[in-house]
């Protein structure tokens, strides 16, 4: 392999943003016809690196070589013209345009007077879609396509140019198994044509299935490259997090109290059906399942953001009706939401105001908000949660992900809830803060909270839960105790394999 010319080579790429060194001298090489997996925890710099490659960001230092030719990529278009195509994780399509127009976005074929050459456009894009075995035609409006089919449109874009390297950023996140195998066929096809492929994913099994080599990033710097055939998951994980993951670590269960929350036969349209579970105070119940399995929707129902179509919710044995977050808060339920930036925080507000937001109406002296009371709460939880911020006046948007998440957690702890629901507690948070937040969740349970943790990360669920509830397509498939649960039976459960449902 080494005597070939690399399709793509990066050398010493440095990229800084105000206050952050996102990439710190990253180098790596993709050979033609190779699937090169890029791994790293959230926030390790993968996305930034890919944006540099895709021409969206310009590196502060370092060089990019395409077939050993030093190249500057000032824009995504330039990158594409030079044969580097980026398939985005967040779909970047225009819903009101046809599939064909999206495939050739920015490069519509022209006739005289700036007219679009529709014949050529439809013929060319139709051919590409056929090659991808898509079940829809080039004239289909993208807005009417499923997410998987939209992804196909993205991929089709990559095939419009003579690509030297194609970057896939988490391409399987929203695909079904059947769609995945089509994707893997496409990747194999590209590979056989000598295209270099960069494949970013969190899913180990996929990576080991399709990649030739694996490079690992951690905290913005390059940690090494492994040949897939000669390594194993442990070694990769170790590189990713800097130490080996102690999966054997078992929870020490705390003292369990009463049933704080009980859910009976709860359903919400097609989102989830007939859900039954209970959470005791002093206990952490983990909800594990694929995105769309209905976990977040249950949390949103408990927090009054969705109306259940059937079933009941009991707090301390009494049935309650929760129509709004205000009701939920009054009943002692708190939700640390899934999307910190969209749902958890007002980014333009300062740390203190964010933290006291749900109770600002009660922190008054006369008609006015009491500065002293607010600062007291902020100081208390800043110290308790070890939030690192220059002061309460700091805008929350300027904090790191981990500290932002702690502000959200502090916001809800300060409400002294009985039931605390934490949805994706460590999404987009660096490794160090992750462990801190996990310990924090355990401690909260110990001090008597009933905690629900929803997560897509298996190690996380295993690390924090006293019990694990596995969900699949809107139903609870199985419940595990901390002793029973392991990676194998959990994976089986959430993929819909039910053989041992009676447990």
């Amino acid at each position: 392999m080494s005597d070939q010319t690399p399709a793509l080579r990066l050398e010493g790429i440095v990229k800084t943003f105000p206050g952050v060194r996102a990439l710190d001298g990253v180098s790596f090489t993709v050979m033609p016809g190779e699937v090169h997996a890029l791994m790293g925890e959230n926030g390790a710099g993968k996305s930034t690196l890919m944006k540099v490659l895709g021409g969206i960001h310009q590196p502060n230092e370092g060089q990019i070589f395409i077939e050993e030719e030093s190249t500057l990529m000032g824009s995504p278009l330039e990158a594409k013209a030079k044969g580097v195509v980026f398939i985005h994780q967040e779909l970047s399509l225009a819903d009101e345009l046809s599939a064909a127009e999206n495939i050739y976005l920015g490069e519509l074929p022209r006739k005289s007077f700036g007219r679009v050459d529709w014949q050529k456009l439809y013929a060319d894009s139709g051919e590409i879609l056929k090659r991808l075995k898509c079940g829809f035609g080039p004239k289909t409006l993208v807005g009417t396509l499923s997410i998987a089919n939209k992804q196909m449109v993205e991929i089709a874009r990559a095939l419009t140019v003579d690509a030297k390297a194609v970057i896939f950023d988490e391409p399987t996140a929203s695909l079904t198994d059947a769609e995945k195998s089509v994707l893997f066929e496409i990747i194999a096809d590209l590979k056989s044509r000598g295209v270099g492929i960069v494949y970013i994913s969190h899913r180990m099994e996929e990576i080991f299935k399709i990649s030739d080599r694996i490079s690992v990033l951690r905290d913005g710097s390059y940690r090494g490259t492994l040949n897939t055939a000669e390594t194993n998951e442990d070694e990769v994980t170790q590189l990713m997090i800097g130490r080996s993951l102690d999966l054997t670590h078992k929870i020490v269960p705390g003292k369990l109290g009463n049933v704080a929350l009980e859910v009976r036969g709860l359903s919400c349209g097609n989102l989830y059906k007939n859900v039954n579970f209970e959470v005791r105070s002093g206990e952490v119940v983990g909800f594990y399942g694929l995105v769309g399995a209905g976990r977040t929707e249950i949390a949103e129902t408990l927090f009054g953001l969705r109306n259940p179509s059937a079933g009941s919710i009991l707090l301390d044995g009494n049935e309650v009706r929760i129509h709004s977050p205000i009701d939920a808060i009054a009943n002692g339920i708190s939700l640390v939401p899934e999307d910190r930036k969209e749902q958890g925080l007002v980014l333009g507000m300062n740390c203190r105001d964010n933290m006291t937001l749900p109770q600002v109406g009660d922190l008054t002296a006369g008609p006015f908000v009491s500065d002293g009371a607010e600062i007291a709460i902020f100081d208390l939880y800043r110290d308790k949660l070890e939030i690192k911020t220059p002061g309460w006046r700091q805008k929350v948007g300027n904090l790191s992900g981990g500290n932002q998440q702690k502000i959200v957690i502090g916001k809800w702890l300060s409400m002294h809830p009985n039931v605390l629901i934490v949805d994706e507690p460590t999404r987009g948070i660096d490794v160090g803060s992750k462990a801190e937040i996990h310990n924090l969740i355990r401690e909260l349970a110990k001090s008597g909270y009933a905690v629900i943790v929803i997560s897509s990360e298996m190690p996380e669920v295993l690390r924090v839960s006293d019990r694990v509830v596995a969900m699949f397509q809107g139903e609870i498939i199985r419940e595990f105790t901390a002793e029973e649960v392991n990676e194998d039976n959990l994976v089986q459960a959430i993929s819909g394999i039910r053989q041992d449902k009676v447990a």
Binding site: S75, F303, L305, S324, P325, I326, A328, I329, L335, P337, E342, Q343, G344, L345, V346, L347, G348, M349, D353, L357, P358, V360, G361, L363, T364, P367, F368, V369, K411
Partner: protein, 324 residues
């Protein structure tokens, strides 16, 4: 190093740019005409800005809450016509509260449409602009409205009277600015307005009643409009149906000039008041240095674009937009 300096200068300008601009204008006009800073001239400017100013104070709440209000101009015409009409029918003691109730009822309707029904505020208030104009014309029968006995009513006190030697419109504008500034800046309600405007999803997820907060911003805005209508009616004791026409955009200009973002979540009442005064002083200053009255519009255009440009330039750290 040089870059750092430039950046901190830009930051300062972005944060306080509007004050800097204000200072420059004031100095410039004072040098050009010494009468500019004379106390009676200054008071005159504030007094003539008061009506626009009172409306801008209310719209500030709406804008910070993340919405727009294009209906305040035609709503102000409505208030003016109604209070003038009722003055002769019910007497001023009753006419004023009834007019306030009617105007605030319209504000409440907008509040329900935008807050509870979540309709786009630009289009709702655009529709209301037209609808309220129709309502006013229907009410007045298309005729101008005048108070029968202009010299025999105490009603003129709001627009023409003085209080401790200060013109009443100035007092009302000033007191309202202070009260509303405290309401927005110091109370839980104000905090909720900022939260809803800054990120309405996160606000909802924090148990803030988004719909009620938005509703209240429109009620406050309509209260201010009613006050402005009162000032207008009391000043002239007679009015056309279109007295407030076009004011909605000037009001918005003042609010933007005061630094409120149209996306919501930022701005203050006091800065809006400053924005109003800047418009007033520029208008006055241009006249004093002998320029055509209408030059002020062109200058206002330039100032609005420059003020917002400066603000976003500082935020993105570069002068020209990155749009390719």
């Amino acid at each position: 190093m040089e870059n750092q300096r430039l950046k901190s200068l830009m930051n300062f300008l972005a944060k306080q740019g509007i004050l800097v601009a204000f200072a420059i204008f004031m100095i410039g006009f004072t040098l050009a005409n010494e009468r500019f800073l004379a106390i009676d001239n200054v008071m005159g400017v504030i007094r003539s800005s008061a009506i626009l100013g009172v409306m801008a104070l209310g719209v500030t709440f709406v804008v910070i809450g993340g919405n727009l209000d294009l209906s305040v101009g035609s709503m102000m015409s409505f208030s003016t016509i109604v209070v003038l009409d009722l003055h002769d029918k019910l007497g001023p003691e009753l006419a004023i509260p009834v007019m306030f109730l009617m105007t605030m009822a319209i504000g409440a309707v907008i509040g329900i449409l935008v807050g509870y029904l979540k309709l786009n505020s630009l289009i709702v208030t655009l529709g209301m602009l037209s609808a309220i104009h129709g309502l006013t014309l229907t009410y007045s029968g298309g005729k101008n409205m005048d108070i029968a006995d202009k010299s025999g009513t105490w009603f003129s006190v709001f627009g023409q009277g003085t209080f401790l030697g200060i013109s009443v419109p100035i007092v009302i504008f000033g007191v309202l600015a202070l009260i509303l500034s405290a309401l927005l800046g110091k109370t839980p309600f104000g905090r909720k307005v900022y939260a809803v405007g800054g990120n309405n999803v996160a606000a909802t997820f924090s148990g803030i009643p988004r719909a009620r907060v938005v509703f209240m911003t429109y009620v406050i805005s309509s209260f201010c409009v009613a006050t402005a209508g009162l000032l207008q009616a009391s000043r002239s004791l007679g009015s056309q149906n279109t007295v407030g026409q076009g004011l909605e955009l000037e009001v918005l200009a003042a609010v933007i000039l005061g630094g409120a973002s149209l996306l919501g979540g930022s701005g203050t009442v006091i800065k809006t008041a400053i924005g109003v005064l800047i418009l007033g002083f520029i208008q006055n200053g241009l006249l004093l240095v002998g320029l055509d009255f209408y030059v002020q519009y062109v200058v206002t255009w330039a100032i609005i674009v420059l003020a917002v440009w400066l603000d976003i330039a500082a935020k993105r750290g570069r002068i020209w937009s990155p749009i390719a």
